[in-house]
């Protein structure tokens, strides 16, 4: 069994009277492709933000490749890339400048090869000299994903990465991610509401409901366990279940 790149134990997050995450355990091993699924408000984004050190858990612990958060957050983030469909890019910079900036934040002394590689991987070399403010939301999302892989992270965390993408661009992103996973062994932790995409990209799904893990396993196994024909049916079944 390979070593975990991410290990979260007993995560709890409360916002006043609401328990957003309720004793969640999650581990992701090297090279795994994991989908974190659940209806809106299930606690997925809060969980991801705790895994990234942007939100502190009330209880529980997170380790990235043995680096505990928040004490060794900087070292942990050297191994992690993050992108979200809802995150914009700095407006007044060109795409190449944004990517170079983030490459330098990841201690890449000569950013150009890493920037060119990321642009090529997601087929967006034509955007290199565009101003970020002039990009469509879909193009911004893809640039955001390219930004997250510059340093060839051990773990790539993606929150709704293809939510604003047309099917063609979404397919290119999936292909780029799958290729990255195969070439570099990068583990993927993805949230998505597109179950077809999850079935194509991920080899393990973790369903979260009211901040708790309610199902964890390969898509086919989870689908069979719930006696449904597809992951989407399982999603609907769980979403309609009382919390």
């Amino acid at each position: 069994m390979s070593s975990p790149v991410l290990e979260a134990r007993g995560l709890v997050k409360r916002y006043r009277d609401l328990t957003a995450v309720d004793g969640l355990d999650l581990h992701v091993e090297a090279g795994e492709r994991v989908a974190l699924l659940g209806p809106n408000g299930a606690g997925k984004t809060t969980t991801l933000l705790m895994l990234l050190g942007a939100v502190s858990p009330d209880e529980g612990a997170v380790e990235v490749l043995g680096h505990p958060l928040p004490r060794r957050r900087s070292q942990a983030m050297m191994q992690v890339g993050f992108a979200a469909g809802y995150l914009p890019l700095p407006d007044r910079l060109r795409v190449r400048e944004v990517l170079s900036l983030f490459a330098r934040l990841y201690d890449i002394a000569d950013p150009q090869p890493a920037v060119d590689d990321a642009l090529t991987r997601f087929q967006i070399t034509h955007l290199a000299d565009e101003m970020c403010v002039e990009l469509s939301s879909g193009q911004k999302t893809v640039v955001g994903i390219a930004k997250a892989v510059l340093h060839r992270p051990a773990l790539l965390v993606l929150d709704e990465p293809t939510a604003s993408l047309d099917p063609d661009v979404a397919r290119r992103v999936r292909t780029g991610l799958a290729q990255l996973n195969e070439d570099e062994g990068t583990a993927l932790l993805v949230t998505s509401h597109n179950m077809l995409e999850v079935e194509r990209l991920c080899d393990r799904v973790v369903f979260v409901l009211a901040g708790k893990v309610v199902a964890d396993g390969p898509p086919a196994t989870v689908t069979a366990e719930y006696g449904h024909g597809s992951l989407e049916d399982v999603f609907l079944h769980l979403a309609e279940r009382p919390a």
Binding site: L49, V55, S74, P88, L89, L93, L101, Y106
Partner: protein
């Protein structure tokens, strides 16, 4: 601390300034307006009065020049952080290896460049329009300028802390807070000119002692080390308080998940 990351942050802000002509208002237009306003007022007072009035004209020009060290350092650091808020880039930055210290150093580094630009404008305008040289303060300009620089950065820590806690609506403080400090610090006049009730507050500010020291030097007296020491002590206390405050606000920011407000 990684120098490469610090430089990257400074470079990011340099791009933003270069591509946003309206941001030059803080660096060029506002300092010029201040010199014209206070310089002309000083000349008018000097024309109406005697030797003391002429001294006041010098106080006004030296005061506005030194005030811009405080203003530019505070505004550069505060708007540096606010730039991440405006472009909703905070979460992007927080999920990299960049540490809070490295970020602060990068913003401060860029702030020094902005400060140099702003002070150059003030000094050139004061020299060109009113034949006032910044070097009338001599070597005293260095310690006094350094103390105002530290005070400006320290004040920005409180602004950043309040934005972290209360969100973007607190950004008004970035421009407003030094104008609260300005009259209390006796930028243009001695502390004795303030209402009695405000004088203890004024004396507690490190900026007040820096401006008092500057006026004494302009009067031809030796550098008042006691005023500099009081200013240094106050600046260190202000910076320590600012660090403690921003650290506490950052803890609250992470604990309450406020990052989602900015993304």
């Amino acid at each position: 601390m990684h120098w490469g990351r610090i430089r990257a942050v400074a470079r990011r802000h340099a791009y933003v300034l270069w591509r946003s002509p309206h941001r030059f208002f803080d660096v060029a237009v506002w300092p010029l307006v201040d010199v014209l306003l206070w310089g002309s007022l000083g000349v008018f007072v000097a024309q109406q009065t005697d030797q003391a009035g002429r001294a006041e004209a010098t106080y006004l020009l030296a005061g506005i020049l030194l005030f811009h060290i405080l203003y530019q350092s505070q505004i550069a650091a505060s708007t540096g952080f606010l730039e991440e808020v405006w472009s909703r880039n905070l979460l992007n930055m927080m999920t990299t290896p960049l540490t809070e210290w490295e970020y602060a150093c990068g913003v401060a580094l860029f702030g020094l460049a902005k400060l140099a630009m702003g002070i150059t404008v003030v000094a050139a305008a004061a020299g060109g329009f009113y034949a006032f040289s910044v070097f009338e303060l001599g070597w005293a300009l260095l310690p006094i300028g350094a103390l105002l620089l530290i005070s400006g950065f320290a004040i920005s820590l409180y602004v950043v802390g309040l934005v972290l806690r209360f969100g973007q609506s607190a950004e008004v403080l970035a421009w407003g807070i030094v104008f609260v400090v300005m009259p209390l610090s006796g930028v243009f006049y001695p502390v004795g000119a303030l209402p009695d009730i405000l004088q203890p507050i004024s004396l507690a500010l490190p900026t007040t002692h820096a401006f008092t020291a500057a006026r004494q030097v302009l009067d031809g007296r030796p550098l008042p080390w006691d005023e500099l020491a009081a200013s240094a002590l106050g600046a260190v206390a202000l910076a320590a308080g600012g660090l403690a405050f921003v650290t506490a606000m950052l803890r609250t920011f992470r604990a309450r998940g406020f990052v989602t407000r900015f993304s």
